[in-house]
């Protein structure tokens, strides 16, 4: 279970998170929605300890994650339970596609033989709809959508318990987006993983989510089961779902 309590984060004078409270149950799929630039990616990075929050408490299974020292063995162990798809893919451009996907399997505590790691990488690539011949290419040789899917394959390669997806379907064609949505759902159901997904894509929300939370103005504006989203009664949520320019959310931000 992941809990955020009163999490604050500012960059200089800009207050991005102003008291986020959120609970994600074990084995649940939580989807975070909200306008671009509202701090969704920052919130994920706070949980992973990539960005230190200014204030507030973040716990995973009851343990305070902000206490873990950078580079300590406890932190490595903590991070080994996570998989993360970064918004921009964040593939290592000095490594080939399969070496990216198998990064965790080629070193450290989860180390496997090279052949085994390569085999797993190719299997994960197949699951995100990529053929084995991309395995030997370098990230720079792929299109943006393909890079995203390689990033997704890397995030799930070591079968983590907790997976964060930052805009997994942005930049993909609708069919590929459907494949990815199904894959995320499968990972949660089959592997029993806890997933946290950021997306703007309402089709994706309905396909992936158990629960939905909307981030607005640095706080969680609304959260609840996906079935209640349409009848939330919250004007911000309603406007976001319908994509209407009319409503309480400013269109110039």
């Amino acid at each position: 279970m992941i809990e955020l309590r009163d999490v604050h984060k500012s960059f200089g004078p800009k207050q991005v998170l102003r008291g986020v409270d959120l609970t994600i149950g074990r084995g649940k799929s939580m989807v975070i929605i909200g306008g671009s630039g509202t701090g969704k990616s920052v919130a994920l990075k706070c949980i992973l300890g990539l960005i230190p929050p200014d204030k507030g408490l973040i716990t995973v299974d009851g343990d305070d994650v902000t206490r873990l020292r950078q580079g300590s063995a406890e932190r490595d162990e903590f991070l080994a339970r996570f998989g993360m798809l970064f918004q921009g893919g964040a593939l290592f451009d000095s490594l080939t596609v399969w070496q990216n996907v198998a990064f965790r399997l080629l070193r450290g505590s989860l180390k496997k033989s090279k052949d085994e790691a390569r085999e797993i990488a190719i299997e994960k690539l197949r699951r995100v709809g990529l053929t084995p011949d991309v395995a030997e290419l370098f990230p720079a040789e792929l299109s943006g959508g393909m890079q995203k899917r390689v990033g997704l394959a890397r995030a799930i390669a070591a079968e983590p318990e907790i997976i964060f997806f930052d805009e997994p379907t942005t930049g993909l064609d609708p069919i590929m987006a459907g494949v990815i949505n199904e894959l995320i759902r499968e990972i949660v159901v089959e592997m029993g993983a806890t997933a946290m997904t950021i997306t703007h894509d309402m089709t994706s929300v309905r396909a992936i989510a158990d629960d939905v939370a909307m981030l607005h103005g640095g706080k969680i504006r609304w959260t609840g089961p996906v079935a209640e989203m349409d009848a939330s009664g919250d004007p911000y949520v309603t406007q976001f779902i319908s994509g209407s320019p009319e409503g309480p959310i400013e269109t110039v931000r």
Binding site: L50, G71, D76, L79, G83, Q87, A90, R104, R107
Partner: protein
């Protein structure tokens, strides 16, 4: 008053930067004895920093050695001391110009590429990705580069010294009428082992500083393409200044009697 305040702010900023860079250096060195290690990364850094720098090292030192011979001959002629060309070229190259020129070329070639690469990795979240994959960027990126530069720079400096002396020799023998055998004998007889040892020691220090600045500014990079550009520029400037300052301090330490 506001002028003094501005100077104060700059001084404080520089002191803070020195403090941060020193902490970064200590952190880097501490990973020497803390596994995991990444030998593959080290090997690739040795190739990048050492092997591929050889052409540039050879080119800069051969021309400098040649020019040095011409200058010493012309200057020496003013008090009929033309004959000292081999000795002065040797000592000038080995003690000063070899390490400094190679150091500055490494600052241009290696510091810039390290800074740009790491800054790009930072800006495109690759550093964050490394961390989430339980890999410490200090161990995986910084230590291999800094260690490789410290180890290969003495070799590059040795190569530079030899080629620089050869530049002087070519000019001395072909243009200034020195006897080939005498030129080489004078060079070898004159150089002390301590000259060579200090030359290589300077090289190691300059290599350490050059790679360290590349990594430090790369890791500190601001966001976007502008951040990468700034990081690269700052790294090269800092590495060059530090190399020249360290050269002065080391020369004072080694040679001031």
């Amino acid at each position: 008053m506001s002028f003094l305040a501005a100077i104060g702010r700059i001084v404080l900023g520089v002191l803070a930067a020195i403090g941060q860079a020193t902490l970064f250096a200590l952190d880097t060195v501490s990973h020497l004895v803390r596994p995991p290690f990444y030998p593959r990364e080290l090997a690739s850094a040795v190739m990048q920093i050492g092997y591929f720098s050889l052409p540039v090292v050879g080119l800069t030192t051969i021309f400098t050695g040649g020019a040095l011979a011409l200058q010493i001959y012309a200057g020496g002629a003013r008090f009929s001391a033309e004959a000292v060309v081999p000795q002065i070229v040797a000592i000038g190259m080995v003690r000063e110009l070899g390490p400094v020129l190679v150091g500055l070329m490494i600052a241009a070639r290696v510091t810039s590429s390290i800074a740009a690469e790491i800054a790009t990795m930072k800006v495109t979240e690759q550093i964050d990705a490394l961390v989430t994959l339980s890999t410490n960027p200090m161990k995986y990126l910084t230590l291999p580069r800094v260690l490789a530069a410290t180890l290969v720079m003495p070799i590059l400096v040795a190569v530079g010294n030899v080629i620089g002396i050869m530049g002087g020799y070519l000019v001395g023998v072909n243009r200034l009428g020195f006897n080939a055998g005498t030129y080489i004998r004078n060079t070898i007889d004159f150089l002390e082992p301590s000259d060579i040892a200090t030359s290589l020691a300077k090289g190691a220090v300059f290599g350490f500083l050059a790679a360290l600045m590349g990594c430090y500014y790369g890791m500190q990079s601001g966001r976007g393409a502008q951040g990468v550009g700034r990081a690269t520029k700052s790294a090269v400037v800092a590495a060059s200044v530090l190399i020249l300052a360290a050269n002065f301090i080391l020369t004072e330490l080694f040679f001031a009697a």
